[in-house]
């Protein structure tokens, strides 16, 4: 019964890869001394490509006879995950080393895609240089380590000082409650109706961006949460959930954020980074600590003035309750494929790619928060952009997504709820009720709790 599924899965994988046709352009030399590296590359994300190019040279020079086959996948985060998963399904297409989103680690470990790295890590002297909290990102449910983190991130409010100044808001700005945000946004709107005062993502168009850079900042600031780690259950029926939707509704109804049509465009973030903030047409937005990577020299939306014009503030809790701020963290890792024919060689390459020099280059070029202590203390890292300290401090109030196998579906249900509210299709209470019903249907009544 399982065999046909595997064969079929392989077929599907092949079909999927043919259809995507984005990767594997070069003929694959099947030799034991070739290792295949799969990772993401887009027009606005080339930092990792550069790291792998350097690591390839370094590694091939040190290991004669070994060819490193780099196979970047050109796709956004969602599609990258899909293509990677399809490639994992067949021995012939599975990578030896690959770039893996932290929130997919646990579910992909369950799927048998990731190689357990415990024994290799034990004899790797640099593993002790990784900070303990970050190591957890690569841990499976069984407590073993399956992936090595490259960097992490936090989320904060990024605001344009000139727009706020024009509205008479004292700088540096630090809202204490949700109402402070609304008050400031209304002031900006009153002074110049053409600016977008405070943008927060919503809807399915921006995918994980909607939840990571918008909804969870709200939800986790109400004292509620998405998932109870202690009970291992999904939370439904919380007042915090409805309040968070209500906040988004207020923002969109009063036209304090972008129009709903813009919000549903999956490319809206490009306008935020590339046009609205640099041109002073947007007051503030909630975005990742990696924001400067777009504006710094060599970024996709170079903007020399960002260091002076932009400010960063932490996202407040609903009524200013403890701990006074909210942030969300994600980040990416490198992992070794479970189907690799040369696990030792693959792991050796992985260690080259995350050595101090390469990790530093990645963290600086991609504005990541360092996970290696030696990188974090490097003067080059601290001077990378003026905001490194501010966003690194947010690690103290940050939260992580519940990275279970059910998570992607729950996340979509949340995105759906935000979309229904900002487009006026449902009231916050109706959308929250529908979310509760979907969660119960998705994970079963035994895995939810009322809170």
């Amino acid at each position: 019964m399982r065999r046909p599924v595997r064969i079929g899965a392989a077929l599907l994988g092949v079909v999927g890869l043919l259809a995507s046709a984005a990767c594997s352009a070069q003929p694959q030399a099947v030799s034991k001394q070739t290792i295949k590296i799969v990772y993401q590359k887009t027009d606005s994300f080339t930092a990792l490509d550069k790291v792998f190019q350097d690591a390839k040279q370094e590694f091939e020079a040190a290991n004669a006879g070994v060819t490193v086959d780099l196979e970047p996948i050109q796709a956004n985060d969602d599609d990258y995950g899909t293509k990677l998963a399809l490639a994992q399904r067949s021995q012939d297409t599975a990578p030896d080393v690959f770039y893996e989103d932290t929130f997919k680690v646990r579910s992909d470990v369950d799927a048998g895609y990731l190689l357990k790295l415990d024994s290799q890590l034990a004899s790797w002297d640099e593993w002790s240089k990784f900070n303990e909290g970050a190591k957890a990102a690569g841990r499976g449910d069984d407590g073993s380590i399956y992936a090595v983190p490259l960097g992490t991130d936090t989320r904060a409010i990024w605001y344009n000082k000139t727009v706020l100044q024009k509205a008479g808001i004292p700088l540096p700005w630090q809202p204490k409650t949700w109402d402070d945000i609304l008050a400031a946004a209304r002031k900006m709107k009153a002074v110049d109706p053409s600016v977008i005062p405070f943008s927060m993502y919503a809807g399915k168009g921006t995918g994980e961006g909607t939840v990571m850079q918008s909804f969870y900042e709200l939800l986790y600031g109400t004292g509620s949460s998405l998932y109870s780690e202690s009970d291992k259950k999904w939370v439904v029926g919380s007042k915090g959930f409805t309040d968070s939707l209500q906040f988004l509704k207020t923002l969109y109804d009063e036209k304090l954020s972008v129009t709903p049509a813009d919000a549903l465009d999956s490319n809206v973030w490009k306008k935020v980074f590339g046009q609205w903030l640099p041109q002073g047409k947007m007051g503030a937005t909630v975005e990742g600590s990696y924001a400067p990577s777009f504006w710094q020299k060599g970024g996709s939306y170079e903007w020399a003035g960002y260091a002076q014009d932009m400010g960063v503030a932490k996202f407040p809790t609903q009524f200013g309750q403890d701990p006074g701020g909210v942030s969300m963290s994600g980040g990416w890792t490198l992992a070794v494929g479970a189907k690799t024919k040369s696990p030792d060689l693959a792991f050796k390459f992985l260690t080259t790619a995350v050595n101090k020099k390469n990790a530093l280059a990645f963290d600086v070029n991609n504005s990541q928060i360092a996970v290696r202590t030696d990188v974090a203390s490097d003067p080059g890292y601290q001077a990378a952009n003026p905001f490194v300290k501010d966003v690194s401090d947010l690690v103290g109030v940050t939260h992580y997504r519940p990275a279970t196998a059910d998570y992607p579906k729950i996340s979509l249900a949340v995105q759906q709820a935000t979309e229904a509210v900002i487009t006026g299709k449902q009231s916050p209470a109706e959308a929250a009720a529908e979310y509760d019903a979907s969660v119960k249907k998705l994970v079963g009544d035994t895995k939810v709790m009322q809170k």
Binding site: V5, L12, T82, S107, A405, P408
Partner: protein, 308 residues
């Protein structure tokens, strides 16, 4: 003729039944490669899709490692999933309005007009209509997106006459994808009908003309019955093509806003690849195959009827 006939029959009579059946089988030999290719590339994926729809196969998680047989669970889920009925309805609307009504009727009208117009006009119109059809689907989809989007061609044209356009893809997603599919697919129907109309014997309609039949009467009672077979074939082909339209919708609206343009192929893709639930995604795809087969059966009956 007579000689060959008697020769053939005579030789057959002298052969044993084994020889005869062998001969019949040998006759199949030339089509074996195409049958094998069809089985490998068409039947096998369909069979796998149907098989997978009875499992909980997934892209990630435990079910990716060991998919379990779940029987009819995926199909039962469709009945309780609010997205599915909406999606099935949108698919029917999309096929009925853009293919059966739009492409089919418009194709016929253009073909009829072309038979009456001069050679230059006909070839000019033909070129313009066919141009949208020969574009690769992804290019046509981007062109349609660029036409209907907020800062798109349509709104610029409207702006010139002082009308403030809306974001069509957001305000009227179904209308936008239906118009785009009509624009893209009409050429096919037009070509089929041009060929069919050229087969209509002129003396028949001339005789009707002599009897005093008006234009629409000749169309309804003479031309259409004669080309009934072509109509059925055309309907079958464009229905199946339109049922499977994915790229056009994905590029233009991605199924949104709020599932307002999520047809079954888009829903199947979302479930299987965005959410990694291959079991449910293939179940939706299997339903789509079933709908296609129902349409196909109806049209095949129409074609048979036409030939009698």
């Amino acid at each position: 003729m007579a000689v060959r006939d008697s020769f053939g029959r005579g030789s057959l009579r002298h052969r044993s039944p084994i020889q005869r059946s062998l001969r019949r089988r040998l006759r199949l030999l030339p089509v074996v490669p195409s049958i094998l290719l069809l089985a490998l590339f068409m039947l096998a994926p369909v069979a796998w899709s149907i098989y997978a729809s009875f499992t909980n196969a997934a892209l990630s998680g435990k079910a990716a490692l060991n998919p379990q047989w779940v029987g009819l669970d995926n199909y039962a889920r469709m009945l309780t999933d609010s997205a599915f009925p909406l999606s099935a309805w949108l698919t029917v609307v999309f096929v009925a309005v853009s293919a059966i009504l739009g492409q089919n009727a418009l194709g016929l009208v253009i073909a009829l007009l072309m038979t009456r117009s001069g050679g230059t006009t006909a070839s000019l119109v033909g070129t313009v209509v066919v141009a949208s059809w020969i574009l690769p689907e992804i290019v046509a989809a981007f062109a349609a997106y660029a036409y209907f989007s907020q800062d798109g061609t349509l709104n610029q044209l409207l702006g010139m006459i002082g009308v403030q356009g809306t974001n069509w893809l957001y305000a009227f997603p179904m209308a936008a994808i239906i118009l785009a599919n009509v624009w893209r697919g009409t050429a096919f129907s037009m070509l089929v009908y041009r060929a069919a109309l050229s087969q209509v014997p002129r003396d028949v309609s001339e005789a009707a003309l002599m009897d005093g039949a008006r234009g629409w009467q000749r169309l309804a009672f003479i031309t259409l019955p004669i080309i009934r077979g072509s109509v059925a074939t055309n309907l079958m082909l464009i229905t199946l093509q339109t049922l499977a339209v994915f790229t056009l919708i994905w590029v233009m609206t991605a199924g949104g806003p709020s599932n307002a343009s999520t047809t079954l192929p888009v829903l199947a893709y979302q479930e299987a690849f965005k959410l990694g639930d291959i079991g449910y995604g293939t179940a939706i795809a299997s339903v789509l195959i079933l709908i296609g087969m129902v349409f196909g059966a109806v049209y095949v009956r129409l074609i048979r009827g036409a030939k009698l």
